[in-house]
């Protein structure tokens, strides 16, 4: 074999493996999309069909205009998910930005312990926090409110955001703020004018990550909400199964619409996101 042939063979094998992996990952998604356009009877035909014979939008109509009063409509879930994820992202960034900066730049008593506590949160499964959080939210009167959910989401979004942003700040030489302070900034001014602009990609990475975490969250949303009007999409999805019925069509239609924003979001900023993650990891 010549060098060229060997290279070609190598490429073929690599691409074959990549395609296989992509198919493996995409299959459930494609099946979900396909099922959402099938009539209820076609969903269970054997052998299964990839392309629906009589494509229908009935499931989509059903989730947007539900007949049963008890179930909320998809647009409400969608709005709740979007609003909560968005506000979670904003709040997480507002808190994580100064927190991670402080962890990166200042020395204060208990700093190591505090940082350990932040990271240590990841050592426990989220479910451990559910009952204490529930009691807390009850006392605060935040059950079944947006505020309650958004604050609860800080428990798992903040540690990662702080860790990620701290990596960015660590990579920025401290002389930059010093130069800024000599050039006429206050300490806070130097942070805002000189440091924050440099962490734009870090904030994007942390923000996207937070958004997706909040968007996908199920357990807290399930327990801390009561009425249908407060449900997020993941909770809404669960209600397609009741004791007696399972509405596969509605579930698949909702799930398909649920995944679209995340996919689009990721497609737009994918390159940015990867660059951001590696930049934070590799210090200059």
């Amino acid at each position: 074999m010549t060098r060229k042939q060997r290279k070609a063979l190598h490429a073929t094998v690599v691409y074959a493996l990549i395609i296989l992996l992509c198919l493996f990952a995409l299959m459930p998604l494609l099946w979900m999309a396909s099922t959402s356009f099938k009539t209820s009877s076609e969903q269970f035909v054997s052998p299964p069909r990839w392309i629906p014979q009589n494509p229908t939008l009935e499931h989509y109509a059903k989730i947007f205009f539900p007949t049963r009063i008890s179930s909320g409509s998809f647009q409400i879930y969608f709005f709740n998910s979007l609003f909560i994820s968005f506000m979670t992202t904003i709040l997480a960034l507002i808190v994580a930005l100064p927190a991670s900066y402080a962890f990166s730049r200042f020395s204060f008593p208990g700093k190591d312990a505090a940082y350990f506590a932040v990271l240590g949160r990841n050592m426990f499964p989220l479910i451990v926090f559910l009952i204490p959080l529930f009691s807390l939210m009850r006392i605060l009167g935040w059950i079944n409110t947006y505020t309650g959910l958004i604050v609860a989401y800080m428990t798992f979004t903040l540690p990662l955001a702080i860790w990620l942003l701290k990596g960015f700040f660590d990579g920025i030489p401290t002389e930059l703020e010093k130069a800024g302070r000599i050039d006429g900034c206050t300490r806070f001014g130097a942070f805002m004018r000189l440091i924050v602009p440099l962490t734009a990609s870090g904030m994007t990475a942390a923000g996207v990550n937070t958004f997706i975490q909040a968007w996908n969250e199920y357990g807290f949303a399930r327990q801390l909400t009561e009425s249908a009007s407060m449900r997020t999409i993941p909770v809404g999805l669960a209600y397609f199964f009741t004791e007696n019925t399972s509405d596969w069509g509605g579930l698949m239609a909702s799930a398909f619409l649920f995944s679209v924003p995340v996919v689009i979001l990721f497609m737009i900023i994918q390159r940015f996101f990867i660059a951001a993650l590696t930049q934070g990891a590799v210090k200059q």
């Binding site: 010093k178 130069a179 800024g180 302070r181 000599i182 050039d183 206050t186 602009p197 440099l198």
Partner: protein, 364 residues
Amino acid sequence: MAEVSLKNIVKLYGDVRAVDGVSLDIHDKEFVTLVGPSGCGKTTTLHMIAGLIELDGGDILIGKNNVSELDPKDRDIAMVFQNYALYPHKSVRDNLMFPLRMRKIDKTTAEQRVNRASKILSIEQLLDRKPKQLSGGQQQRVALGRAIVRDPAVFLMDEPLSNLDAKLRVQMRTEIKHLQQELQATMIYVTHDQIEAMTMSDRIAVMDKGKVQQFGSPDELFNRPNNVFVAGFIGNPPMNLIPAQIVSEGGSKKLRMGQITYAPQTGRVHDLMNKAAGEKVIVGLRNTAIQMVAPGTAGSILTEVYTVEPTGDVTYVQTNIGDKMCTISSPDVAYRGRLGDPLSLRIDENRLYLFDDLSGKAIL
């Protein structure tokens, strides 16, 4: 421009006395260098003057004002950092504009100043680039530019040349010195390179262990070192420092250095020996104060060649004097002695220094 006074300033990091009571009076328009080995507190001192580090004791005056409690931005200083600290997301022009903008200087004046500074430093063609697109030497110029547009009372520089290659360093050394004189600026410059300090400064403060060991002109430090540390630090090659003992033989005092017992001829050295507190001293001799002479010359001492190091204009000879490896300059540049060749050496007693072995202080 202004004078700067440090009055017994102190900085502690836990048990480390990073800056341990430094006092300096720096004149208006003076070029003063802080020099010393790594960790001696140079950067800390400079940052204290800048206001980036708070004082644990003492006072700092710039002009007539006590600035000890002021923020860096209110001290009217400019600083150049070792890694330049250019703002990476701003163009060169915006880097230069930034300090002016922060001080609310009107736009036309600001632009004039930026243009003038970039002309002085020949960076006019670089104004629209980002710092990343510049070479190390160019970044260095921009950093200098950002300092000079402000026209501050004092310039502070922390090893601004150490990231440049040897050739560029020598060139920038001249340029900074020239710039300081052209701008009539008060400049406080930090380096660990004693040659940089010697060539650029009006006065040098030699620091060690958080303390100023000596503050004086390059000539003073070279010719009249206060103590062993300064003697060994200033000068290249460093001064030969030979441990010795003052002994009395046949009614007169002599210097015993290892196997060699040396009988000083001049009254000066006898005076110094008489002033010594104990019998243990350190003899200091620059490489040029030890001369190679013809064998058998009266008063000469005998040693052997260890190595010969030709450098082009000077040839250095290494030899053991009293168990201490010493460097001397050969009068004949073409001298190429070999290991073990006998050497006759005469000591220039007018340029012999004695230091107290315990305190390290010069005996004068």
